[in-house]
Symmetry: D2
């Protein structure tokens, strides 16, 4: 995500004076709610994303999740690249290539 | 998020040959599950993020949500900046500044 | 669910003096978190529940969701039978048999 | 929950011939989605349930969660009282009264 996109997200919030509502707990709730709206697209539906209407819906809901993640990172003072790269390091130890390759089990079942 | 971070996310997946498991439905489930792990940090806990242990945990779980969002975008062929900027446009119409300013109500209650 | 089961749920809570933590918002969070733990069993896994280990896990997580539902109803002063039967009436109007039969669409798509 | 309520839930499903859609994975998704709709009532809102409109909404969404729990138990062949009472036994060992009393920590932090 470019700096420009992050800037647009924060500007949208600040234009509406919404930062006052953005405590981490309610932002975590919001991420969960948007994730549920994304998931709802797949309720009863199998795994396909072939039809056009669904693809547009997935784009919107995934964007909403990303949007709230950026807002949460901002409120908590996190740098997104830093926390993601840091987590990749942690996951690399939990899921070493030789054990995890082609295996969808959780790390404690590898 | 830089191209480099996105590259690291996809490389982590490809090194483990995990793309075979990544259908959109299970990725949507995964985003929901990681969002729940993030939310769990705030269960019974009020809104503070003051203590250090919690901040580290929030970083990790937020990174997990972002990680799966990138994986979903990749599998669906979405450009993250494009979908987020597109959604900001939609939201700008749903939440016009003059109505939404300082108001946390949903668009249908503005 | 029998009165005896509900009694056991509330006794478990009261023996531990936990009602003080049970505000509706945190109970709603708890229901979501337990629902996610139930859902996690099906992550990457298809729809089968054949293997024994999984069935035991589903029982436990479904029980956790039910447990928190009872706790929430108690704190809010709801009678479970009353609210469920009331909702069935509402749903009967949203999903009339002649339109909904054999159709998994949401009511606004019937 | 009385036998009569459970009977009404299953009759509602069978009148609409919906059992064909009710695989455990999609039911677990459904429980998560309804839990999110319940949680949404508390987004940005603090912990109060004082106003009447909200109470009605909580009743409906909590009823939806309970409804899908009963449907899941039915499809998986579980007896609700049995699984809940069984889980209370497990929790009694994880959260012994003497350690857990007045303490909202998770069992691994007691």
């Amino acid at each position: 995500m470019t700096e420009e996109t992050i800037h647009q997200i924060l500007k949208f919030r600040d234009d509406r004076d919404w930062k006052q509502f953005h405590n981490p707990k309610d932002l975590a709730i919001s991420i969960s709610l948007e994730a549920a709206e994304l998931l709802e697209i797949f309720q009863w539906s199998g795994e396909d994303v072939s039809d056009k209407g669904k693809t547009e819906k997935i784009k919107e809901e995934l964007a909403d999740v990303l949007n709230y993640c950026v807002l949460m990172a901002d409120v908590c003072g996190f740098d997104i690249d830093e926390i993601v790269q840091e987590k990749i390091k942690i996951n690399s130890e939990k899921y070493p290539v030789e054990k995890a390759k082609g295996n969808s089990n959780k790390y404690d079942k590898l």
